[in-house]
Symmetry: C2
Subunit: 466 residues, 2 copies
């Protein structure tokens, strides 16, 4: 890939284009923009960072970079897990940190218009003031909405509410050429040619910059309850999930965890959960507007769990009690990462295959002697496997890890699933993409990349190699 070097002249050009304040080049500052939360700690230092404040400045930077063949990597909050924001080829990191305004909350049309740098938590809090709710719920609430769109971020609410894609009705996108596209709008229905919007969603910064997002929002559910259900073993817990779906009950979220992980996290955060003596747990969130029907749904789920051998069903009703459970659940990755060298798999399988996938995971874990903890979104088939280095030597880890991951991805695909539910392909999963995309499909993807970004300046080295 034949990129031009960023020189002093490049930097002064950028400064004169968008202002000195919006161009960072102090080596100490650049380090902050080198990585994301990817478990392997892969990072690369940009040559310069720009923090444009509006669409026009984004367009100016891209036009300049395109003319000068300088790679550009977009960055929201750098909370991604797949190296999406890592500038593998150096060049420019374009950070959306200064484009973080909520532009409009439109109650008549139930949409919000936001800049890409808006942090999810901020959006949630602002919407709540209007009794509104943005359903996509990636675990990382400090993530920026632009990154959520770029990775089609998922999260716990996927069972009922799906991924980010479901809520994107409009985008402003800037092409590598600097051209600004207005895709979609405030209307929900549309049949007007090829949906470039849905091509940009999930494209991980390789097709266009996202400079504005129009989100569909909805009424905040009036009531939420959480069931905390200890099981004597993981198989019984997981086998309950398709039963719930088959009964056509739609919880908001169904998470599962095993005792070993729970105890590890409890110890780290110095907090204990009730009934922490069971081997496995389901945590089930239900929402609705009407108390009676919500509790009826809760009872039906509880009955299904008990019939499948649950040791108990604890119901958390207060906001605080529920927050305690979900906060603990939300800290698993962070705690594991702070105490272990680890890697993750973001596989998805059809709901009916979750139990089988976990069984295969344990089998693969044994085969390679590599500790694997299952964790995650049982309700939508998005199983996060945590692969721990534990006591393995560096050599053993670097030898076993790729083989284990290869087999785990192959197993997901063999069960009718896929290799990423919500983290994206990024850098590290590129080699597994051919497991689910045929040569013909990959060829189409590459050609589409060429249509949008003929000089391959946008986030090069991600999703696939050119």
């Amino acid at each position: 890939l034949n990129y031009r070097q960023v020189t002093k002249r490049t930097i002064s050009c950028l400064q004169s284009l968008i202002g000195d304040d919006n161009v960072l080049h102090d080596p100490d500052e650049l380090i902050y923009y080198s990585g994301d939360e990817n478990p392997a700690g892969i990072s690369a230092k940009p040559d310069v960072v720009v923090t444009p404040q509006n669409t026009q400045q984004v367009s100016q930077v891209l036009t300049f970079a395109n003319d000068h063949r300088i790679p550009v990597t977009f960055r929201g909050q750098g909370t991604g897990l797949s190296c999406g924001a890592v500038p593998l080829y150096g060049g420019i990191v374009l950070s959306f940190e200064r484009m973080n305004r909520i532009l409009e909350i439109d109650e008549d049309n139930l949409v919000a218009i936001v800049e890409p740098g808006v942090v999810l938590l901020t959006l949630r809090e602002e919407l709540a003031r209007y009794g509104l709710f943005y359903p996509a719920d990636p675990g990382e609430r400090t993530s920026a909405i632009g990154g959520n769109v770029a990775t089609n971020a998922g999260g716990m609410n996927g069972v009922k509410y799906g991924n980010t894609r479901q809520y994107i009705v409009g985008l402003e996108a800037v092409l590598a050429s600097g051209a600004v596209l207005q895709l979609g709008g405030k209307t929900l229905k549309r049949s007007t040619g090829y949906e470039l919007l849905h091509l940009v969603v999930g494209s991980e910064g390789t097709l266009a910059a996202i400079t504005k997002v129009i989100l569909r929002v909805m009424k905040e559910p009036q009531r939420v309850i959480t069931l905390y259900v200890p099981f004597p073993n993981l198989t019984a817990a997981i086998a309950t999930v398709p039963q719930i779906i088959r009964e056509k009950i739609t919880p908001t979220a169904i998470e599962f965890m095993e005792q070993e992980l729970l105890l590890m996290v409890e110890q780290q955060v110095d907090q204990r959960m009730p009934h922490d003596g069971a081997a496995a747990y389901l945590i089930i969130r239900l929402d609705g507007d009407e108390e009676t029907s919500l509790y009826k749904m809760g009872e039906a789920v509880a009955d299904l769990c008990l019939a499948r051998g649950a040791e108990d069903v604890l119901i958390a009703e207060s906001r605080e009690a529920q927050a305690r459970i979900w906060d603990l659940r939300g800290r698993f990755y962070e705690v594991l990462k702070s105490t272990n060298i680890l890697d993750t798999v973001d596989a998805v399988v059809p709901i009916s295959q979750i139990a089988e996938y976990i069984r295969l995971g344990k089998q693969i874990s044994k085969k390679y002697g590599l500790t694997i903890h299952g964790l995650g979104h049982a309700g939508d088939g998005n199983v996060h496997l945590m692969l721990l280095k534990d006591t393995l030597s560096d050599t053993a880890w670097s030898e076993k890890l790729p083989k284990t991951k290869q087999e785990l991805h192959e197993a997901a695909v063999a069960l009718g699933g896929t290799i990423s539910g919500e983290h994206g392909i990024g850098f590290e999963k590129k080699k597994y993409l051919p497991l689910i995309a045929s040569k013909d499909e990959l060829a189409i993807m590459r050609n589409i990349k060429h249509v949008f970004d003929p000089n391959n300046i946008l986030n090069p080295g991600k999703i696939f190699d050119i």
Copy 2:
């Protein structure tokens, strides 16, 4: 466009590829495959029709057509309104009438796998046997699901359930080259590169053949009620709609109609609606599982209507009473078309702008002296305007019609809306596409077309000109 002629030799090649039974070339038979339901009656006779029975045969036909530069136009049930199935350049019509099997209804994963020729009504009936429900509800229930996918069909349920796109989780698609792509699958979450699936949805047969569809289905709502609400004038009726949305109530459907149209249809179908003396009507469908909360929602909607001047609120509860209302509503287009020369506009505007759009529509109607009836999906902003020739001379009609349509489309776009909500662009709306897609966006669309179909054999002349 330099296509090769279909000759006797072409026909015998097709016969030897997929069997004599699957190749129709009798001139009388070909007429049936010339048109769709487009109001202008635009049609074009194919040179030959093929009715492949499986994906392999589709692939064989496309490979052959691509090698020989023969245009191919796909056809489901020919119920489209935008000439999608009209073979403008002759050549081959590929009809999916023999690929009409429901392959699987998977209750564990709440998905159905169907061939593209399955008729919507058949799918609904089959799903109902499992207590399942496919929410996208285009008015035309004899349409084929493949066509629904190709146009991202919408319908009355858009308010609550959205368009077809929301329910497509997997597609099998055949490229012009004959290559078969498997896009998506039974899983709901996915972040694995560019979403070609969403590019094929809504592409109106110009990018690929759709040979298999994996649909997300859901539990059939336990209860449905319909409110039939007469208003003293259209403005009052329409102004109620954003109020309902603003109160964060989500009906399944909100339709509106005016008395003049109602009386016209009543006369034609020889059936009378109660309270048919009002100037305008809202028809509102609500669904839910729980009787109490459903009726609470019904009361809230009724109160909002009455506060806005509704003359009465009639509630239909029995299946039959509701069916009578919706069947009548469903026959408007057919009745109008059988008694008038007409044209339609499928504009969408943000919900908050519906009243203004109708006002502008009436103004444009007056300006050109062309009768326009508004009708349609008030709840999602998808206003169908029916433009009637009435007593106009042929010359006046052909002079006024394009000007009126141009202004109606411009008005929708000016209000933040778009030019097609669910019918697609097809042939006749091509000239309006630049109203909503910039040159840069159109250039990207054209290049994507070239990536998928370099010889431009798939449904040429639709969406845009090459």
